[in-house]
Symmetry: C2
Subunit: 123 residues, 2 copies
């Protein structure tokens, strides 16, 4: 089993990478064949190239992330976090709860993001 | 798809039932054949009778619950909450992140609780 501390570090690296990019750096935190479902209920994205494309929307944005709560159980983590994206004239903020699973090298094997459009705030 | 508001209400009913019991009332919020994994990584419990037995540990305890964050996505919910159990001379508090899925009548079809013993606080 992956050590809880390794999973905590992987979540921290993920939030740092989402904030600083580029998309390829975020995708590198995922294992081969990893899956992504964001938000939960949408079509699942499979494998690193598609995952990189998913995050490329952030490449030219100014993004801040903040971890609000993290729980590790087995090879999984659930975490509540804030992500703020600066758009022209306003900041878009959302605080999803993500669930990730990890392989024995603490690479992300799956990510599922729980949020809905109702959770987006503009400021 | 189950309406988001119905899922929100179901989560509220669940937290109320965990606080007030009895275990049978909590189990009644689950669908036939529902599964429970608490904490994630432990053996899965299947069906309502076994789920009732799981919650029966709370039947003679004084329990308080408080919702900290809730995200609904599709037929699923992820929520961070506090549960405090009064024990002789101390209060045991834990703030798990739970993930639930629901059927079209907003009955719980699966529950997975993300927490580890490190997350328990005594006060």
């Amino acid at each position: 089993m992956t050590a809880a501390q390794d999973i905590r570090s992987a979540v921290a690296r993920y939030l740092d990478a989402v904030a600083t990019g580029p998309a390829a750096d975020i995708a590198d935190l995922y294992a081969d064949g990893a899956t992504l479902e964001d938000p939960v209920g949408s079509a699942q994205i499979v494998d690193r190239a598609a995952i990189r494309d998913f995050y490329s929307a952030l490449d030219n944005a100014t993004v801040k992330t903040e971890l609000l709560a993290l729980r590790v159980a087995g090879n999984s983590a659930a975490f509540h976090f804030r992500v703020s994206t600066e758009m022209p004239g306003q900041t878009v903020t959302i605080e999803p709860i993500d669930v990730m699973t990890f392989d024995d090298q603490a690479r992300i094997t799956s990510m599922r993001a729980f949020w809905s459009p109702d959770d987006i705030t503009l400021g």
